[in-house]
């Protein structure tokens, strides 16, 4: 049997539970009522008037996302290396040292240009 098959079972059970529970909640929940104001999005008791909701948000978030992708891929590269590290010994150390040094350079650059500052 494929060792990944049980994971599929787990996913199916979890999805079935989530969808089932939500449907059940819809079924036994109080009937829908209320007026326009009740269904309005919550903005502290005030009708949301100022500005669009899904307007542009700070570019900062994209920057974080891009940096994340860079570093996450770096981490992914480290996994296979870590598994065979004991066989590679000094060679592995130097190899990964160079890899990390290049990344570290980028990290330092990013830090210097202020991409890590939130404000």
């Amino acid at each position: 049997m494929n060792p990944y098959l049980p994971i599929l079972f787990m996913l199916i059970i979890a999805t079935a539970f989530a969808v089932g529970a939500l449907s059940l909640a819809m079924f036994i929940g109080r009937p829908k009522g209320g007026n326009e104001r009740k269904l309005a999005p919550y903005e502290c008791g005030i009708e949301p008037v100022v500005g669009e909701v899904r307007e542009r948000f700070p570019v900062k978030f994209y920057l974080v996302a891009m940096l994340f992708i860079l570093f996450d891929i770096e981490v992914i590269f480290l996994y296979p290396w870590a598994v065979v590290f004991r066989q590679l010994q000094v060679f592995g150390l130097i190899e990964m040292g160079i890899f990390l040094a290049i990344l570290l350079l980028g990290y330092m650059y990013v830090w210097r240009v202020g991409a890590l500052e939130w404000q």
Partner: protein, 592 residues
């Protein structure tokens, strides 16, 4: 003594302003200078620049209908260098009352003038933003005018929101003025203002967002509404919108007798009811010209300091909660409950005590009060240590509060910021020291003063104040001697119950005092006091009737809140929460 000071200043003013100034005996024991409306700005500037009256306190209005001139505005300023204060007035005619604004001289006058515009319909020439402050924009008439029709407005009460319709509201006088059937769509000027300032940013290509905080928001400490304009997460402008809790306390007081009006003061700053009672009673007593016995004085100090501790505890609790330190909340409320138990023992009520009244105290404290107080005193110092362990040196707490929400001494004084919020900026200014009342001069205590004027210093100041209050109470307990708790004033206080049972005259007297109340002579009384939040004073005007002709409350939170946009500028949204928490506002006394 204060009157002498005022007279001296008046004589100087005479030399400069000639016939445009006059001396007035009111308020009692203080006196004031009456200035011609045309020279008010010049006069204020002169006081600020030449006489160093740097601390702006208030502008209050009054309507003397059937008199000419009809309206009177009373300005109050303090000098922090010479530790004295001054009142000056302008009198305005009935038709088209208008006067120059002084909001460019003292920043804090901005809201007070808006409030007067709202309540009395007096126009301030040159005011940057003359809109209604407490009443909705579409409101008709000016409520604090004596000829304002009471009972005309229909208020809808319905559990079902859908029942409340525009049709059932009174028809607006003018379609253009009427901007919506409820407050939801009002405040057009504030929106336009924000959007205007935002329009420029949009051109610059910046990501801009306007966030509405409140009135139903977990950390605005009541129904305060803030329109916050953000660039990313940085606050550019803040526009406070108040009035959601406006209950017309000043107006209501005019139709109640003094003892009834006292109960309204509990409901203003509901976290320090006894402090409000005390301020009200002191002003009324000055108006009546009575002195109260020593035991009552000492007990008043004990109660006022307990109230201060209690109010600071609620502040610390909620401030901590705002910043996510939720355990501090429960620790503080544990001790606060003990204080409320004390209030309950003394007055029968936990929060709305009305226990300190004109003439002394309602009743003497019951015998079980002192042991309870003692057991509270025994533990309290160590409990303050406990709060400090949770917060004072916590690195996250330091990061969140240091350098956040700063305000300089000059700005704070000009805005009329008072109490710990002012002292944290680095000035020693406490009414208990400056103009001692209730015998505060006899007590040995220190006034904690900060240096940076940020959230952390305000925190330190308040925590230290709790310890100092504890110190005062300890001294007061030693000073407490048996004796009467009411002034020997039959016209103010009703006879003791035993006497009422035995004497017909006493019974009638009691009956009259309860139903009609005591009369106050024509005149004015004003005593500045220091509550947990800052400078609180009532400006009482009597007209010979048993009701206050005008009860004007100068509340600390009102002025403190006004300085909030200044403190929040350039900070982050999260700092906004810290800053609001640190100035310790109570909406009940802002909106009154």
């Amino acid at each position: 003594m204060q009157k002498e000071e005022t007279r001296k200043i008046f004589e100087d003013a005479r030399l400069k302003f000639g016939e445009d100034v006059a001396f007035s005996d009111r308020p009692a024991e203080e006196g004031s200078i009456v200035v011609q409306p045309s020279r008010i700005k010049e006069f204020s500037r002169w006081l600020r620049d030449d006489l160093k009256f740097d601390f702006y306190s208030e502008v209050g209005g009054a309507d003397f209908m059937f008199q000419n001139p009809r309206y009177s505005l009373t300005y109050t300023l303090f000098s922090t260098k010479e530790r004295k204060h001054i009142h000056y007035k302008v009198l305005l005619d009935e038709d088209e009352p208008r006067v120059d604004t002084i909001s460019d001289v003292y920043a804090g006058a901005n809201w007070h003038e808006r409030e007067i515009f709202d309540m009395f319909g007096i126009t301030f020439d040159g005011h940057p933003d003359l809109r209604r402050l407490l009443m909705p924009d579409y409101w008709r008439g000016h409520p604090l005018r004596k000829d304002y029709d009471i009972g005309g407005e229909s208020v809808q009460f319905s559990a079902n929101f859908a029942d409340v319709t525009p049709q059932t509201l009174p028809a607006p006088p003018d379609e253009e003025v009427f901007l919506g059937w409820d407050r939801l769509e009002t405040q057009p000027s504030s929106y336009t203002q924000l959007l205007d300032s935002g329009a420029e940013l949009e051109d610059a290509g910046e990501g801009r967002m306007i966030i509405n905080m409140g009135p139903q928001h977990p950390s605005t400490h009541g129904v305060l509404r803030l329109l916050v304009e953000l660039d990313g997460e940085n606050v550019i402008t803040t526009l406070p919108d108040i009035g959601y809790l406006h209950t017309g306390i000043e107006k209501t007081a005019e139709s109640l007798n003094f003892n009834q009006a006292l109960t309204l003061t509990d409901r203003m700053d509901y976290l320090s009811p006894l402090g409000n009672n005390l301020a009200f009673s002191l002003s009324t007593e000055r108006l009546l010209g009575i002195t109260i016995p020593r035991r009552a004085q000492v007990l008043r100090v004990i109660l006022a300091e307990l109230t201060r501790i209690q109010s600071h505890l609620v502040w610390l609790a909620t401030h901590g909660l705002d910043l996510g330190a939720m355990s501090a909340f429960f620790y503080c409320f544990r001790e606060r409950d003990q204080i409320l138990d004390l209030f309950e023992t003394a007055s029968g009520v936990r929060m709305m005590t009305s226990y300190i009244c004109p003439g002394g105290l309602r009743e003497d404290i019951p015998p079980e009060f002192m042991p309870m107080l003692q057991s509270f005193m025994d533990i309290f110092q160590s409990r303050v240590d406990e709060y400090e362990v949770l917060l004072t040196k916590n690195p996250i707490w330091l990061e969140r509060t240091q350098g956040v929400g700063k305000i300089s001494v000059e700005d704070a004084l000009s805005y009329g910021v008072s109490g710990p919020s002012l002292r944290a900026s680095g000035i020693d200014w406490d009414m208990r020291k400056v103009e001692p009342y209730s015998g505060y001069e006899e007590y040995d205590f220190d006034v904690p003063v900060g240096s940076h004027g940020d959230v952390y210093d305000r925190y330190l100041c308040r925590v230290e104040e709790m310890r100092q209050s504890h110190r005062i109470i300890a001294q007061a307990i030693k000073k407490l001697e048996p004796g009467p708790v009411g002034a020997d004033e039959r016209r103010v206080l009703s006879p003791h119950k035993i006497e009422i049972g035995n004497s017909m005259e006493s019974l009638i007297h009691h009956f009259l005092l309860t139903t009609i109340g005591f009369t106050a002579p024509p005149g004015e009384g004003h005593v500045p006091t220091e509550t947990g939040r800052g400078l609180l004073s009532f400006y009482m005007i009597g007209d010979g009737s048993p009701k206050p002709y005008r009860m004007r409350a100068r509340t600390p939170s009102f002025s403190n809140l006004q300085a909030l946009p200044l403190m929040m500028q350039g900070g982050l949204v999260a700092d906004a929460v810290a800053t609001i928490g640190s100035i310790d506002i109570v909406l009940g006394e802002i909106d009154r």
